[in-house]
């Protein structure tokens, strides 16, 4: 699964580089669950990042979400994004940090 990464979630790692912030993994402000893209069903990275110049892309598996973070994953297709899905569950600080540590960066945001 892929999650778009706001450039402000790409923070100094204390060693001269950058790392992902756990703030990237949270439910939405309106109370809806965390949005992700089902990677295998997207046309590609460019389609997921279209319209969001400078944003990055992080990837994690459904197994991490389900079995390590104790979340549910459900399809939630949108009119123009059939590959949209929700990661459902409470995002405690520990859960968000676990998502961060178990995610990889596919496209680094531009600071």
């Amino acid at each position: 699964m892929w999650r778009r990464i706001f450039p402000g979630w790409w923070v100094p790692d204390g060693a001269g580089g950058y790392r992902l912030s756990s703030a990237a993994f949270d439910n939405s402000q309106d109370g809806s669950p965390m949005s992700v893209a089902l990677a295998d069903e997207t046309p590609g990275r460019d389609a997921v990042l279209a319209g969001f110049d400078g944003y990055g892309l992080a990837a994690f598996t459904a197994a991490v979400a389900r079995h390590e973070c104790f979340q549910a994953v459900a399809r939630a297709p949108l009119p123009d994004c059939a590959w949209h899905a929700h990661v459902i569950g409470t995002k405690t600080d520990a859960v968000r940090n676990h998502f961060r540590r178990r995610s990889s960066i596919l496209v680094a945001p531009r600071k």
Partner: protein
């Protein structure tokens, strides 16, 4: 870093008119009030719906300006900043984060990374030598903290932190 300085000098010599002439002195233009070294420095912080004046009693800590800049930047985020429909953190949340920082950090503390959360909160982060510390101020004002030691693979959480009692937070964070 700038230091406080008086805006006008002090005179220690006798004015020349006093001994050289019996003519009465010509009144001089009134000086602007002097700033004393002990006066606090006033630093403005402009947020979306409010403006603060922050008093700094002594020389500013190293983290001071980068922290204010980071908080101000959060206030200037636009709608849908995260691409998932979120709005920027409300001023109250940013002010709570600033209050927390001022209480928690000492003069030579390391500046935190300041990041917005999709939920409408502010997160402060420090990462150093395999140790992670994250303090989150939620949109509703609740404060929590998470510390993770990568070498040990262990984390610890403190929730429902009150600004009036930072003891549990300090116990978790140690010296920043």
């Amino acid at each position: 870093m700038t230091s406080l300085a008086p805006t006008a000098g002090t005179h220690t010599t006798t004015p020349t008119w006093a001994s050289a002439s019996q003519q009465p002195p010509v009144p001089r233009a009134r000086r602007a009030p002097r700033r004393l070294l002990t006066e606090p420095k006033l630093v403005p912080l402009t947020l979306a719906e409010s403006a603060l004046i922050i008093e700094v009693g002594a020389e500013e800590p190293a983290w001071f300006y980068s922290t204010l800049s980071g908080l101000q930047h959060l206030s200037q985020l636009g709608d849908n900043w995260d691409s998932y429909g979120s709005r920027p953190p409300h001023d109250d949340v940013i002010i709570t984060a600033l209050d927390l920082i001022a209480r928690l950090l000492s003069y030579d503390s390391i500046a935190p990374a300041i990041v917005p959360t999709s939920e409408g909160g502010v997160q402060l982060e420090w990462h150093r030598d395999g140790h992670e510390l994250e303090i989150r101020v939620r949109a509703n004002g609740e404060i929590s903290a998470f510390r993770f030691d990568e070498a040990a693979g262990q984390g610890a959480t403190v929730e429902r932190i009150s600004l009036s009692d930072l003891g549990p937070l300090v116990a978790l964070t140690g010296r920043l």
